[in-house]
């Protein structure tokens, strides 16, 4: 199959099907309702299940149930809807269930607006729900990448028995770009017999798989927390992904930017290069785990004089960039919120001010 022109939202829906996920529960919300629109038509064609829940809270527990039964399952939502799902996500993480959540972010807080934003960075990477857990979070910068990350999310969720999030923004969802689906990214679901609920009564099985998040004995819960931590540590070792742009030049300024914002920054990097100012960029493709070492090393580059976290939020990823740079360089923030996407010209002006 060659390239097709698709909206990011539609490509995410198609990618999930091609990844072998035939269960989708959702509740519509702008700017990602096209995923539900697309899958309500497509899933029945391939023998899958589309179900619109009565609320996002209900959807999160439908996901929990399907995942506990060993099914590949996913949902999509946008910022306020993800907040409503956060309770279920905590239970899913506590129960060590694989599931995929897509957040096509819009401006906030509260109902905020419907235009693109990256305002949920801290929520996604640090604390999406109560308890002590992390999601593996991937941030696409194009429709093609949104499709690829969606396909990769399912095996990763199964590898760690942990929820995985695709953190996109309204523009990634609404924009159309050519996309090619790589069917070699399709994976077989892992064997879930060891833990999934198996209907032992009806199938004559003697193995009873109990899935729970309640551990009243503090010693047992502590052990459980250590087991979870070991998974997040392993993600740090094995799953960090990033793209380095113009990093072999004598860059004076290092930009760290992800998603749609990184596209704007890339144009700025190209234009500034043409003017004679070298700027490097690290684009995290995973925001948890964060490419801490790559950002730290790039900031220590011999000609580097300043680092900037450029994001469509009020300095959220900035905290991860500061943590990575460890005080070796001044770390600045530039961005806009509320659905405003900074233009290349605005980024250029800001970067020039740092290079002066």
């Amino acid at each position: 199959m060659g390239k097709v022109l698709m909206k990011g939202n539609e490509a995410i829906g198609e990618a999930a099907i091609r990844a072998g996920c035939l269960n989708y529960f959702a509740y519509p919300i702008t700017p990602q309702s096209e995923v539900a629109e697309y899958l309500s038509r497509r899933l029945p064609e391939v023998g899958g299940l589309f179900l619109q829940g009565e609320s996002e809270v209900a959807v999160s527990y439908m996901i929990l149930g399907a995942a506990a039964a060993g099914e590949r399952v996913f949902t999509t939502s946008s910022s306020p809807g993800i907040s409503l799902m956060s309770e279920g996500i905590s239970y899913i993480a506590g129960m060590q269930l694989p599931a995929v959540f897509v957040n096509i972010m819009r401006g906030g807080p509260g109902l905020g607006g419907i235009l693109p934003s990256q305002a949920d960075y801290l929520q996604a990477t640090k604390g999406i729900g109560h308890g002590d857990f992390r999601l593996l979070v991937m941030a696409p910068a194009s429709v093609q990448e949104a499709a690829e990350m969606t396909m990769k999310a399912f095996p990763l969720a199964e590898k760690y028995r942990n929820p995985v999030m695709i953190l996109g923004d309204g523009l990634i969802g609404q924009m159309m770009e050519p996309v090619e689906f790589h069917d070699n990214l399709k994976t077989k679901p892992v064997d879930k017999n060891g833990w999934a609920t198996n209907g032992m009564d009806t199938r004559g099985s003697s193995q009873r798989n109990l899935i729970r998040s309640l551990y009243l004995d503090p010693e047992v819960l502590n052990r459980h927390n250590l087991e979870l931590k070991a998974k997040y540590d392993r993600m740090q070792q094995e799953e960090i992904r990033f793209e380095a742009v113009n990093i072999d030049s004598d860059y004076k300024v290092l930009i760290v930017s992800y998603g749609t914002m990184s596209r704007v920054c890339r144009t700025a990097v190209d234009q500034l290069k043409a003017e004679g100012l070298e700027v490097g960029m690290i684009r995290p493709q995973t925001v948890f785990p964060f490419p801490e070492e790559a950002v730290g090393n790039a900031a220590a580059g011999k000609s580097c004089r300043a680092v900037a976290s450029i994001e469509m939020s009020m300095g959220q990823m900035l905290e991860d960039v500061q943590r990575s740079v460890k005080g070796r360089q001044p770390v600045h923030w530039f961005g806009k919120c509320g659905g405003e996407v900074p233009t290349p010209e605005e980024v250029i002006e800001f970067v020039r001010s740092l290079a002066r």
Partner: protein, 178 residues
């Protein structure tokens, strides 16, 4: 080489569709392309606009402040976006609905009565295709042949609309040649 085309008009004038057909044609021509709609809170009959970015290499920012070209289907769109167009770009003006001029002397202003032409062809709803074809014929951002193919493909499921829209392409192309 990158060019950006902004389509703008009333909601219902087929702005998003004509932009999508152009994006499809660019993809078929082997170019990189991004179709970026305005999806803000708009009322029915309000302004709709959409930008298509076409490039021979990876597209950076899909957010464009100054497009290379503009296809203005109504007066508010022309007033709002004409000042943003880059010098030497093409501004297509739907002269059936727009009596004023762009006010720019550094662009190629192409005035085509696209609604009148569409009505003459039998359906005013093909005005967007007339405009698209006239624009492509003048600006040359994709091949005319590819455009014809993509218009046909767009209406493949509504076959009886194909002759009307192919006629719209022909008339649009002719109008641009005058």
């Amino acid at each position: 080489m990158q060019s950006e085309v902004m389509f703008a008009g009333f909601g219902g004038q087929g702005i998003l569709l004509s932009a999508k057909i152009l994006a499809h044609a660019a993809m078929e021509d082997g170019l990189e392309v991004a179709w970026v709609p305005s999806y803000g809170p708009e009322m029915r009959g309000g302004t709709a606009y959409c930008t298509v970015v076409i490039s021979d290499r990876l597209i950076g920012s899909p957010i464009i402040r100054n497009p290379m070209h503009l296809v203005a289907m109504n007066r508010p769109s022309l007033e709002k976006f004409a000042p943003l167009v880059k010098p030497n770009g093409v501004i297509l003006v739907n002269s059936t609905l727009i009596s004023i001029e762009s006010g720019r002397d550094d662009v190629d202003e192409l005035r085509v009565p696209v609604n009148d032409i569409a009505v003459r062809l039998g359906n005013v709803r093909s005005a967007n295709i007339v405009a698209l074809a006239a624009f492509v014929a003048r600006a040359g951002v994709v091949k005319m042949e590819t455009l014809r193919h993509c218009v046909k493909e767009e209406f493949a499921t509504k076959e009886k609309l194909i002759p009307l829209n192919m006629a719209a392409v022909e008339e649009g192309e002719k109008a641009a040649a005058k």
